[in-house]
Symmetry: none
Subunit: 199 residues, 4 copies
DNA sequence: TATGAATGAGCGTTCATTCAT
DNA sequence: GATGAATGAACGCTCATTCAT
């Protein structure tokens, strides 16, 4: 049940996005043809054009859907005080976001090139810069700024570079988060939480 | 001298690689056509086929050339004792390698997808795994393994994610290296160099 | 009142024809898509198919509407005696018809090719031949037949070839009519109106 | 002999132009597909792209070739004194040019729409205006300017509107030329050749 | 009276590749 | 060591048209 033409009516747009995400993530945007997408959906190429004006439109629509959790995280972060605790909470929330956004990130990583021609504000890079601006203090020593930046990418590491590590996904994710939080803390030497400044 | 046909004789193969590297790094492998490469070199497409059997052959040849410093670094690392000092020295050498391999890395990052179909041992990912295997201790706590892995990617961060940071390239590189060395050291708590085991 | 959906109810067929005439005249039949027509009317393409069976049907309906004044002129002409005076009156009436049929003629000129596949009697060319048959005398010297034919096209000249002339539209039209009447008169040397045959 | 692949080598570009002219004239530019052209030449569509950058490029190349005699006529005309004799000679030469340019004119008439998007100077209309500027005197009475303009179009009439006339092509052409010369003469009342100005 | 959703055919164009010269 | 000429396959896209609702 579910796969008959009747059952699918009305959700074609969504199904196009699903298949496109899958294929773009797998093979990249350029290598994925509309024929491929259409065939997998058992519709014609022309049907895709009923729902999206161009191939790039599919890409953009995917990006917008997938970037929303990130945008919400950024919006939240901008309204918080710029304390270590905020930054660490940002990181924790980022960790959760990543968890449910693995396809997104696979997709984005494969398609940086394709997306780099889009209007500013429509790339992942813009979000990364925005996030890093919330984490680092431009007046701090450079090394501490690097620590803050690195925290972000340590999180990504857990998704992609640790695939061959012999441990469960949650464990890896938790470990990555810990390292990231550590880096953030090291970037705030005078304000370590739970550490009395004192003698 | 210079740009005349005569002066170029004999180095066409090299010139193809140069232009291809440039374009692949800029636009990605799929989006770069042989016509484009040929036009920029002011030769015909057919000329490219005298020097390379296929388009993919150009990609592979580039990768092999560019991966050599990395392979040499790995070969060196495998012959060293697995001490913290070795790992940190690996990192320092890696830092130097990266410095002169910025186009390589741009290229690789843009073309992960294109390269992922190649035979094992012909991808950047393989090198990264090999490098990480030299840095981490499989019997160590997971968090320390993550620290080791992260060190590598912190180095990359300095090349790509820090472009909008307000500092000179060498400064950034140095800061990234420091953070990376720090992470490696933290992954070896019982053996901090210069730190007596004490008590 | 005016442009609201309610005010438009019932006249959609007419509005389709108006927009189609405009676009066919501007860009030609082949280059004008039903999507374009539908968009300009703010209805869907399918709506066009409620009012017309095919795209060509729109073309034919336009032609029939627009050719009616011409057909009436021809019907009138056929019932008159074949005198110079009749011919000149035909020309005068043709001049008036053209005046109010500028879009028609733009449209016809752009779409001769598209209309040439239609059934006989459905082309502008048929009307032109019919008109010329009323004007020329098959037994007259060839040059006089040419004069008669030319009279028709001189009228067209005033609409299209004289656009860059520095004069008002009515002036041009009047001048063209004069030249045309002149040509008709020259084609009837023995019967110049107002010229006594006499000794 | 003649039609084998070997015999055709080297003249493909020309053959494309020939077939394209034929088909564009017959069916119009928009309705003629590159597939059709390629099939008639027994080559692939891609071969067309070796010789022309776009479909429009074929159109332009045709126009340029075909417009050359006209451009030469205009160049000659611009160097002559602006007398009636010059104008009549222009007309005679135009008549000859038309004779050998029937395909051109069929083609142009079918493709006015397609050509009207081209750059100025690349349309037939531009040539017509240039020619009419050589024939008419902007300070003359409007009716005489119309006579001069009409002369041009009378010539065209002989090619297209007289197809159903019962006479040989040369006869028709000669008759049309006579009418045209007449019109030019009537536009110069004070300077009729062979007519003494005198008392 | 219309629309939403889709189709099948075809379009102009570009691609990597081949091969005789 | 390279070119000129071409191919076959595929691409993104648009078209006129259909039909259940």
């Amino acid at each position: 049940m579910g796969n008959t033409p009747q059952a699918r009516r009305g959700d074609t747009r969504q199904r196009i996005q699903d298949v496109a995400l899958e294929l773009f993530a797998e093979q990249g945007y350029e290598k994925t043809s509309l024929r491929e997408i259409a065939e997998r959906l058992e519709v014609t190429k022309a049907a895709l054009y009923y729902h999206f004006k161009t191939k790039e439109d599919i890409l953009i629509s995917l990006f917008q859907d997938l970037a929303r959790p990130l945008d919400e995280l950024l919006a939240w972060g901008r309204q918080q005080p710029r304390t270590l605790e905020t930054k660490q909470e940002l990181m924790r929330r980022y960790s959760v976001a990543l968890e449910s956004a693995l396809p997104l990130f696979r997709f984005m990583q494969q398609n940086q090139a394709a997306m780099s021609h889009l209007r500013p504000g429509e790339t992942l890079k813009d979000r990364m810069i925005a996030l890093s601006d919330l984490l680092r203090d431009p007046s701090a020593p450079l090394i501490d700024q690097v620590r803050s930046l690195s925290a972000i990418f340590v999180m990504h590491t857990s998704l992609f570079a640790m695939q061959h590590l012999d441990a469960g996904p949650e464990e890896k994710q938790k470990a990555a988060l810990e390292v990231a939080l550590d880096l953030l803390a090291q970037a705030h030497p005078q304000e370590r939480p739970g550490t009395p400044d004192a003698a």
